[in-house]
């Protein structure tokens, strides 16, 4: 656990937290959308540009060597952070691209690209792809597209009223036709942490590939992807104190080397003539063109910062914040929260509906008090429809979130319905 003093010291590392909004000190409860950046992350990018900027893996000159060093140290740092090998970490621009690289790579395999090694990835009519009803659009639409492109059927695991996956029909839904099971580790709306082990076990039984959306777990919990035994995983730098413009695809080495690449171009080939090209092994085969090198340096600094703080402590701190938010929200009259209780394994992402007041209006009143929350469907329209809603308000936390942030938020929330004369 982090003491209040430690959290305060952490806050001093984040320049934006000194900001005021509309005359009040900023209360930032939108970390689920994107996290704020400590100075060391900003400095790592700056330092890269000011001292070693240059093309990586290409030049023999000293600057290029230093840039390549920064780039590959970033990969090592991220690999260590999530229990992966360095050849299992592919840079993408965001988690969305990472998920698309898997889905469209499978589509390419189905279309006959990738040679004999890619045959094992063939998906077609009669096969199925399974997702869950709580997925972010980033882990849903790419699979819809794959289903369209291949003729496979898209199925999903439904939700219980209290925001868990309904696994009663798991064996029926994930069956021998299932080629891919894609699911989120933690819901960005409900906060639910899903039972990875059980889902992976079922996928293994039927020989389906597993794809884990780790966007909301890697920034908040200790995550060991090798131990989780998933085949692929995706997460984004900007949600884990890192820069925008950088995401990560994890894949088991053996799979990455044979999955056909989606984006093609420079730096991912061995030989090219006018008719055809040979692709490098992973990770380079998926890293076409100039990579977000400064952002890799920044992300390396971000995982350094998180490791130093200690992910177990981060998780414990955020669990405490989750408790304050969940219980506090449940006490506000006329507010309906969706997602599991404070007692469940959950992250500090808490969404709710204020009866009689639209989420936009809720967010506006909170913003007037300097409190930044997210309103809307949070890129999860099917989830919202499941609970009879189109939009909710969401408060979400990170390592720098304090109990005082929660108190200010809860006080302002209590004033929303009175402001609009609803009771």
């Amino acid at each position: 656990m982090l003491s209040a003093a430690e959290v305060q010291r952490i806050r001093n590392d984040f320049p934006i937290l000194a900001r005021e909004v509309g005359g009040s000190p900023l209360v930032y409860l939108d970390s689920g959308a994107t996290a704020q950046k400590p100075q060391c992350v900003i400095d790592a990018e700056l330092d890269f540009y000011a001292h070693r900027n240059s093309a990586v893996h290409r030049g023999a000159h000293s600057l290029a060597v230093e840039a390549t060093d920064a780039f590959e140290s970033g990969r090592t740092a991220v690999a260590d952070f999530v229990g992966a090998g360095i050849r299992e970490i592919v840079w993408t621009k965001n988690a969305t691209e990472a998920l698309n690289v898997v889905a469209l790579g499978l589509a390419h395999a189905a279309a006959g690209l990738g040679g004999p090694e890619a045959q094992r990835y063939r998906i077609g009519p009669g096969d199925s792809i399974v997702v869950t009803e709580m997925e972010h659009h980033a882990n849903l639409i790419p699979w819809q597209q794959l289903a369209r492109l291949t003729g496979a059927r898209l199925r999903h695991l439904p939700l219980t009223d209290d925001g868990h996956l309904e696994l009663g029909d798991l064996e029926e839904i994930v069956d021998t036709t299932t080629k891919v099971l894609a699911f989120t580790h933690a819901s960005n709306v409900l906060g639910t942490i899903n039972p990875v082990e059980r889902l992976v076990a079922r996928a293994r039984e039927v020989g389906a590939l597993t794809v884990l959306d780790a966007c909301q777990s890697v920034p908040h919990l200790p995550v060991d992807l090798a131990a989780l035994d998933v085949d692929f995983a995706a997460f984004s730098g900007h949600k884990m104190l890192g820069p925008t413009g950088i995401g990560v695809l994890y894949g088991r080495a053996e799979l990455l080397d044979t999955l056909p690449p989606v984006l093609t171009g420079g730096s991912m080939i061995t030989t090219v003539d006018m008719e055809s090209a040979e692709f490098m092994p992973a990770p380079q085969r998926f890293e076409a063109g100039t990579q977000p090198v400064a952002q890799v340096a920044g992300l390396g600094a971000a995982v350094g910062y998180l490791s130093e703080t200690g992910m177990a402590d981060v998780a414990a701190h955020e669990a405490e914040i989750a408790g304050i938010l969940v219980e506090g929200i449940d006490r506000v009259p006329g507010v309906r929260r969706i997602g599991p209780d404070a007692s469940a394994a959950r992250i500090a992402s808490v969404a709710f509906d204020v009866e009689g007041v639209h989420a936009h209006d809720v967010g506006q009143v909170l913003d007037d008090a300097g409190i930044a929350v997210r309103v809307g469907h949070h890129c999860a329209q099917p989830l919202h429809r499941r609970y009879g809603l189109t939009a909710t308000t969401r408060a979400s936390a990170s390592v720098y979130t304090t109990a005082e942030d929660c108190e200010r938020f809860l006080t302002a929330l209590a004033g929303v319905r009175p402001f609009f004369g609803v009771s």
């Binding site: 639209h358 989420a359 209006d361 506006q364 007037d368 469907h377 189109t390 402001f419």
Partner: protein, 160 residues
């Protein structure tokens, strides 16, 4: 008045509750309707809010009836209500003038002067222009009615 109070003026909060024009749509009901009819569905992708607006022009009198249904924040609901009032009171031409003025006002970043003669209750939306994220909420129904009216005119053909 704080920015927030300017945004949520009493007129707006009232319209958000009364919702003038928010009534069953003719759409697929099979009920007889004027040949000069148009319907437009608009979505705000950020929040999933949506609205359907119907415009019906009486071929005899030229009178305009507006019907709408949808869900959204107080700004979007009030805006639809206000717009119904204006459109039915002043007809397609009056709406066209108001629509232009409203569009300009919304993009004025808090600097615009609302012309109450043209805008009626819509003048109360001046405060919205200070909140860029809310402009789309205010404009959604206006875009829909503009589109529905264009269809009604087109459908009217010679009769228009």
């Amino acid at each position: 008045m704080s920015d927030l109070q300017q945004l949520y003026q009493q007129v707006i909060l009232d319209h958000a509750k009364q919702r003038y024009g928010n009534r069953p749509l003719l759409g697929g009901t099979g009920i007889d309707r004027s040949p000069q009819f148009g319907s437009s569905h608009q979505v705000n992708p950020t929040c999933g809010d949506e609205i359907t607006v119907e415009a019906e022009i009486d071929p005899g009198t030229g009178a305009l009836t507006v019907r709408w249904d949808g869900q959204g924040c107080s700004i979007s609901m009030a805006s639809a209500s206000v717009l119904t009032e204006i459109a039915e009171d002043t007809g397609p031409e009056g709406f066209a003038a108001a629509e232009a003025a409203f569009h300009t006002l919304m993009h004025s970043r808090g600097q615009g002067e609302a012309d109450e003669d043209v805008l009626g209750d819509a003048a109360a939306f001046q405060g919205v222009s200070k909140f860029p994220a809310r402009i789309k909420c205010a404009l959604l129904s206006w875009m829909a009615l503009k589109d529905a009216l264009a269809q009604a005119h087109a459908a009217g053909g010679d009769h228009a």
